[in-house]
Symmetry: C2
Subunit: 266 residues, 2 copies
């Protein structure tokens, strides 16, 4: 990347639900705010992608051996497209259930191979509101809209369970968005804006669950140092002092600036 920085990176890898996470009220942007001056949130969301296609770009983005500093954490959020049904409008995106789990395992292994200390967080796909999908298709295509659903909540649930199961097998954290969302009455319209993608409320659920998982895995923003002094710690008459106070020279050696972050999280 282009800058010498002291901040660790948290990468968001996924499909459109990740790609769109910087829209108004999006979970990615909210995460960037939660980790303000602590970590960089790097969005790598690819609308329409399934795990099979994700595997094709993985080696481009993170070749192994990896020359740079590996991210501190990565969220892997696929399944909504893999679960598209065969013989329906979105069948191009379909990935068979066993292959979905296999691909996810490959993706996780890739990151672990790149950096044994990286925190890998799996996120299972959200539930599907079939009525919402149908209304959305009609709003776009009217009478020409597809008659049969391209996704069902039940099938997507089988993908979510494989994701949860894989996390258990690999002993990594997982957020079961499919189950979590359905625990709230009216989840269909409250959390999903077109039966598949998230409303602001749905984004808030993902944001809060990701925060909780990162906190639980030792990457809480509250425990991370600011990259530079808080303005209240700066002496107006001698501002340079605050910039030297953490054992840091002003020689441009950024690793020395916040040694705790550099050693723990990068």
């Amino acid at each position: 990347m282009a800058m010498a920085v002291v901040r660790p990176q948290i990468v968001l890898l996924g499909d459109s639900i990740t790609e769109q996470s910087f829209r108004r009220g999006g979970w990615g942007a909210a995460l960037a705010d939660s980790y303000s001056r602590k970590a960089d949130i790097v969005v790598r969301g690819y609308g329409g992608y399934n795990t099979r296609w994700a595997l094709l770009l993985l080696h481009h983005l993170w070749p192994i051996p990896f020359a740079g500093t590996a991210p501190a954490a990565v969220t892997i959020f696929f399944g909504a497209n893999d679960a598209a049904l065969l013989g329906r409008q979105s069948e191009k995106q379909h990935v068979p259930l066993p292959e979905y789990k296999h691909n996810l395992r490959q993706i996780v292994s890739h990151f672990k191979q790149m950096s044994p200390s990286i925190l890998v967080l799996l996120i299972a796909p959200p539930p599907v509101d079939e009525d919402g999908r149908e209304q959305y298709a009609k709003s776009l295509y009217g009478d020409k809209a597809r008659k049969l659903p391209e996704r069902t909540n039940e099938v997507t649930g089988t993908y979510a369970r494989q994701c949860v199961e894989l996390a258990q097998e690999m002993q990594i954290p997982c957020i079961d968005v499919w189950t979590v969302m359905q625990q709230t009455e009216g989840w269909q319209k409250l959390f999903l804006r077109d039966g598949l993608h998230l409303t602001e409320e749905g984004n808030a659920v993902v944001h809060s669950e990701v925060l909780r998982a990162l906190n639980g895995a030792g990457l809480a923003a509250e425990e991370m140092q600011l990259d530079f002094p808080h303005h209240s710690a700066i002496d107006g008459a001698h501002p340079e002092k605050a910039f030297q106070s953490q054992g840091c020279s002003s020689s441009g050696n950024v690793d020395a600036f916040c040694p705790e972050i550099a050693s723990n999280h990068i």
Copy 2:
């Protein structure tokens, strides 16, 4: 930075108005969405900072000579704190007007020295709603709130003019947020939530002005390539083809993936 990426970077350097730009409706998050899959938005906002303090961190973040790939663009958005009045509550942040301009020039020169082709975009501070500031102070401190304003719109305006003037002298683009916002009736409460920081509407003004400036300087998102194929370009039966179609091997050589972006914008 930690990843091998093909996306150019757009850095947002500034004070709290930049630091908070990933909150709900924030201009930084909106920019990340506008450049989705085209560029990475890197936020480097430091609440309370003035140009004097910014100079103290510049060499830490972007040492010269710079070892990595320089950002494609940087927005420099200071002045709201430099314009704090002497002898008032926020006087620690005050920077004399001539020094503000001098410091800004140093910051711009630093980036130009790092990379002659970098697009440097100056942003002048927003106007100040003195009544809004007073109400905000009273909401926090009641009768103990400061009696005299710590900033005035008139004084901040003199800083904005120096910023605009410097941009003309250095022949770089500038957004005069101070002037632009005051062209809308009711700007005081419409664009500012506490007399100083931006509402969602205020963020939308900055977002749209930054987009316009980037477009005008040859960095329009519409003209930049996606980092990987759009899902509609992927053949379900032979997905690997789309990942090889731009003269790219699958060898992990990311620079070869999107040669136009690599040569024009990084």
